[in-house]
């Protein structure tokens, strides 16, 4: 693999990149633009998406498209979870992570699974 995968759970960024391109192409038809200069994605830290893999796949799928050569900006959103033992929201770095306060695993992920296209710079 060309990049270092820091997570144990690689998601398939290629399919996701195709989803991004579909949203861009839909927007291009509705908003009548012919070229995309930059794309902002919001990616949660617990979404399982590897930013480097996403960047690699984005370049591959957007070749010969309206978004060819566009700059990809990834906005990382923090992971949060609800600890059932502490009864409060705490930061999480992994979906199977322990509570940083009590060390328990009775955790429900409440934020950080986002995978969204936020906005585009177009012309």
């Amino acid at each position: 693999m060309l990049f270092e995968s820091s997570k144990l759970s690689p998601m398939h960024e290629m399919s996701l990149a195709e989803g991004v391109l579909q949203l861009i192409e839909d927007a291009a038809r509705k908003e009548k633009f012919s070229s995309v200069k930059a794309v902002w994605l919001e990616i949660g830290q617990l979404s399982g998406v590897e930013p480097q893999a996403m960047a690699f796949c984005f370049d591959a799928v957007t070749r010969d498209s309206v978004a060819a050569g566009a700059r990809l900006e990834i906005i990382a959103l923090p992971g949060t979870g609800w600890c059932m033992a502490c009864e409060k929201t705490v930061p999480m770095t992994e979906v199977f992570g322990e509570c940083p306060q009590c060390g328990g695993y009775q955790m429900q992920v409440t934020g950080g699974t986002e995978m969204r296209v936020k906005e585009l710079e177009v012309e």
């Binding site: 693999m1 060309l2 995968s5 144990l8 759970s9 690689p10 998601m11 398939h12 960024e13 290629m14 399919s15 996701l16 195709e18 989803g19 991004v20 579909q22 949203l23 861009i24 192409e25 839909d26 927007a27 038809r29 509705k30 908003e31 633009f33 012919s34 200069k37 994605l41 399982g48 590897e50 893999a53 690699f56 796949c57 498209s65 059932m84 992994e94 979906v95 199977f96 695993y105 009775q106 955790m107 429900q108 992920v109 986002e114 995978m115 969204r116 296209v117 936020k118 906005e119 585009l120 710079e121 177009v122 012309e123």
Partner: protein, 306 residues
């Protein structure tokens, strides 16, 4: 091709539909599949803000502007999934999305389940990259089955499943089992419109699979720990495996079973029957409430002064 798992979205084939799809699905703009479900975009709301003053640019140079998208990357799939879910609810059909690694015993489990359910109508959608071997095995049990070959694709998506559902003649209040491509990674993200994802883990795999592939175990509501008839021959810690699954998903239900010996199958069948009863009861409830509403309106019409 996908750098993590080798998937690609081309070459999808659904039995009995191949020729139709070729001309129907590829559009001049390169968009696939956009004809059949135009409503998929309804949820979208976009606002464009033309932030650049148009007059300040030289002729021939279009002004740069920002377009707000604010949409989930999987929005399209989710819209198709919602449409599938709606169609299933209208018919009172209980649908499950069965996910696992290759070789966990999904197809054998399905064949046994169908046999044990007896007269209960069951339909199966089989997802594999190639061949119709699995659908052939299911059809041999007498159940309806349709094969989707995803080609290089590593998962089923809601659009493919919608097409496959249209090809099957699904009975009201029946059971639909969708056997996903054997893969513990990608299918986790793709909602197909099912009531539950059911993850199958066999005891010949590692106990730590739930924490190695947490997304899948988090997405599933039920884990079937399969092949427990082999436990005497293995050094497998059942409690450790269940502990790892609960660490990722505290609410996951676990059923230990063996399709070969039949152990635990009663509990699994009870889960299926509960689900089917709930799905058909929910449908009946909406039919009853509509009937009650019609009766109410008719009474009002009769009472209305002429």
């Amino acid at each position: 091709m996908c750098v993590t798992c080798g998937c690609g979205s081309e070459e999808v084939k659904i039995e009995g539909e191949a020729a139709h799809r070729e001309h129907d699905h590829v559009h001049a703009d390169g968009t696939h599949h956009s004809h059949a479900h135009d409503h998929a975009d309804d949820a979208a709301h976009r606002h464009s803000h033309d932030e650049a003053p148009a007059h300040s640019h030289a002729a021939g140079v279009s002004p740069k502007r920002m377009v707000q998208i604010e949409q989930d990357i999987l929005a399209k799939n989710n819209a198709y999934a919602q449409a599938n879910r709606q169609r299933l609810a209208e018919r009172g059909i209980f649908a499950l999305n069965l996910v696992s690694s290759p070789g966990s015993g999904k197809t054998t489990l399905l064949c046994k389940t169908i046999a044990l359910l007896g007269q209960q109508p069951v339909a199966v959608i089989e997802g594999d990259q190639q061949t119709s071997q699995d659908a052939d095995r299911i059809r041999a049990t007498g159940a309806q089955a349709i094969q989707i070959n995803t080609g290089k694709g590593c998962h089923l998506d809601a659009h493919m499943v919608g097409h496959a559902m249209a090809q099957l003649s699904l009975a009201d209040a029946s059971l639909l089992m969708i056997e996903n491509v054997g893969n513990l990674v990608c299918p986790a993200a793709f909602d197909l419109g099912e009531a539950h994802k059911v993850v199958i883990l066999s005891v010949t795999e590692g106990e730590d699979k739930p924490i190695k592939y947490p997304d899948m175990f988090r997405a599933a509501s039920l884990m079937l720990l399969n092949k427990i008839d082999l436990l005497p021959h293995l050094q497998y810690d059942v409690q450790e495996a269940i502990g790892f699954a609960r660490r990722v998903n505290p609410n996951i239900r676990v059923i230990q079973l063996s399709a070969t010996s039949g152990a635990g199958m009663d509990e699994w069948l009870a889960f299926l029957r509960d689900g089917m009863n709930q799905a058909s009861a929910a449908k009946q409830e909406s039919v009853d409430s509509l009937k009650a509403r019609i009766a109410q309106l008719e009474t009002q019409l009769q009472r209305a002064p002429r």
